[in-house]
Symmetry: C2
Subunit: 413 residues, 2 copies
């Protein structure tokens, strides 16, 4: 509860330097997330006076991070407040996504705009670290070569489906590709050779972050994101921050046991996990698809068949929807989120599973906690995890705009 937040706040003191750093970061975050915001609105949102905002605008403009433009819209009375825009064409990150069926790299400009992207297909299994980093580094090289020389790369972020050690980007456990303790972040950084760290995040954590900042959860501080691919991953925003837990391994909602006695075996070694009962294989099995049939198209075919009136496909969606609903109800009781977002493969089955999910929520969630909760499909589609990786890439710049851009800050001071 808000009353208890003083306890959660930093016990670290603030000095003038830290205060200025904080204000520059907060200012740049607002510009980055809005894509353009008036000085008057910045003053209101930051609760700072106009002269401080003017000074911050001047500092960050001089550093080449933002640009001030006159407001052309004159519908409002009075002198229009200048608009501060991010320098999208001058400041970028490289974002990488190890998706279930492809490897993606993108150049994303400040403001969250995907400026360029390269994609390579990948097999679902038998893909080792060397193949992944070699391919991604080549895509990254192509992006860098194609980038204008006037644009500066301020960070590198990558999304991976697995449990990631935040400090060094090691994939501790990635059941999708069978990776255990693979130095993904360090190896990708080495191959890229840009002299920068690659920050690596769990794909569902990053998907949650992107939906929170730019998608179905904008303006919401508490959000649960379920990401379906082979399994069911989770990212949970608590009070505006990704729940990471003690070591970065939180949010594993796919391994919440919902069917403890006699449940389907799960890839994690347990059984009755949410992803075992409601993941891709469970759906395809329930729809009577043979073992060799899998992937996004197969999942869509079940959804299409059900929509066309096929009873087996309809039953399969109901079966999966019921398990998914039990999981979602549990998550609502635990997190009291404003919105639950379904992303990845779950977008394709969303309409089909919704009746059963709603029914379980109605039955299992405590009366007060379901008053305002909303269910939603991901708003960012296939770019959710990629955009989240981009935000991870920008995180250092946004925490401390000057120290993260030595080459940029030199022009400022």
């Amino acid at each position: 509860m808000d009353l208890l937040t003083p306890w959660g706040g930093s016990r670290i003191g603030l000095d003038q330097d830290e205060m200025r750093r904080h204000n520059r970061g907060a200012f740049l975050r607002l510009v980055h997330l809005s894509g353009g915001i008036s000085r008057a609105e910045l003053a209101r949102r930051m609760d700072l006076n106009r002269s401080t905002i003017k000074q911050l605008t001047a500092e960050l403009s001089a550093a080449g991070l933002v640009r001030e433009v006159s407001q052309t819209d004159n519908r409002h009375q009075g002198r229009p407040s200048p608009i501060v825009r991010p320098e999208t064409q001058r400041i970028h990150v490289l974002a990488f996504d190890v998706a279930v069926d492809r490897l993606v790299a993108a150049r994303i400009g400040l403001g969250g705009v995907i400026l360029d992207r390269k994609v390579a297909a990948r097999h679902r299994s038998g893909v080792d670290l060397d193949y992944v980093v070699t391919t991604l580094a080549e895509l990254g090289r192509q992006l860098t070569e194609a980038a204008p020389s006037t644009s500066t790369c301020v960070g590198l972020g990558a999304s991976y489906c697995g449990m990631i050690r935040p400090d060094d980007g090691v994939v501790r456990f990635g059941p999708d590709l069978g990776w255990v303790d693979q130095a993904f972040g360090a190896e990708l950084a080495r191959r890229l050779g840009l002299g920068q760290r690659v920050l690596v995040g769990n794909e569902a954590h990053l998907g949650a972050l992107a939906e929170h900042l730019r998608g179905a959860g904008m303006g919401v501080q508490n959000l649960v994101y379920l990401h379906g691919d082979v399994g069911v991953g989770g990212g949970i925003i608590v009070g505006g921050t990704v729940l990471d837990g003690d070591a970065g391994y939180g949010c594993e909602l796919g391994h919440m046991v919902v069917n403890p006695h006699g449940g389907r075996p799960c890839g994690c070694g347990s059984s009755g996990c949410l992803e075992a009962e409601a993941g891709e294989r469970a759906l395809l099995d329930a729809a009577g698809r043979p073992a060799g049939v899998f992937g996004r198209d197969a999942v869509r075919a079940v959804a299409d068949d059900a929509a066309a009136g096929d009873a087996d496909a309809r039953d399969a969606l109901d079966y999966v929807g019921d398990w998914l609903g039990i999981g979602v109800a549990n998550l609502i009781n635990l997190f009291n989120p404003a919105v639950v977002v379904f992303g990845g493969m779950l977008r394709d089955v969303y309409a089909g599973v919704l009746p059963r999910v709603r029914s379980r929520v109605a039955r299992n969630v405590l009366p007060v906690a379901k008053e305002r909760v909303r269910l939603s499909v991901s708003a960012l589609g296939d770019d959710t995890t990629l955009l989240g990786a981009g935000e991870l890439g920008f995180s250092r710049l946004l925490r401390d705009p000057f120290s993260a851009t030595p080459q940029v800050s030199q022009t400022a001071w």
Copy 2:
């Protein structure tokens, strides 16, 4: 993950006033939580220089909130750094606890010391708002009368077993006493007549807070607390803050469905909830106790019988332990906590259920998430929720030491 926290931070700007307020609050929190801390240690923990710490000490001493004493321990070399202590005898809150079998009020001094306490028994059911607030207000009156005239009351906090609206302390849903939308906080404040708000929190949220600040989770930023009484409540600390969710109703882990098909009916109207399978009634039923037998002594009797070799009691603890273990494993997968704390009635069965809980954790938790997690019994015993209510009472003072104590700050300026 820590890399993503810049997003969770406030987007509000800081000015000089806010910076000073923050520093005073952070300083007073450290003194309050430590009970006494050297100026050198304050400088180190707050990452501020010694002259700023000296100034903060002077300001808060003048306000009557802390007191500087010479360090008598001279084992360390060099000039000893003065110790800053909270003014425990001059600054207090009143804390109230609506526990399952009693009503408790306490006067708690700055530093978290229980200075005085009054207790009234209560029946388990048929207790209405009027009875509770009348009784608590009378206990509060006795505490106030007995308090020295030199001590100032800076806040009022109360713990209640139910879903509480943080803004006004309304009990939205309190299944224990069958309360729905009862204006507990406002009514208790009115009866106390001290001209101060009563801040009300869910008992398990407050238990989690107290264990985090002063108990089994000290120094830990991610903690799951399970509080057993009639049901099983939950409080979860995420990144050092109580998880409240969108409207204050998060952490309802007792209503996580663990046995969806054929589970025991739950007081919430659903079935198969963790508290239905592992709460007091489940344990007593499993041990063959008749319906009229309930309460703490009955639970302890089962634990004692099991320890003495009674097979039925042993089986009952195994049964409950298995369900509890499924719930705990799910919570570890979701929250990646450093510690899981068992409080309330669960302390009495802790030793008895531990083997099954451990076995489920070993089987169901993902390998990486269980590397460091610790299981623990509550360290604060029966005072957990009361101390949490005290911390809630102190929260305003600790957020802004001067504005929360008008009577005190007058002496300072």
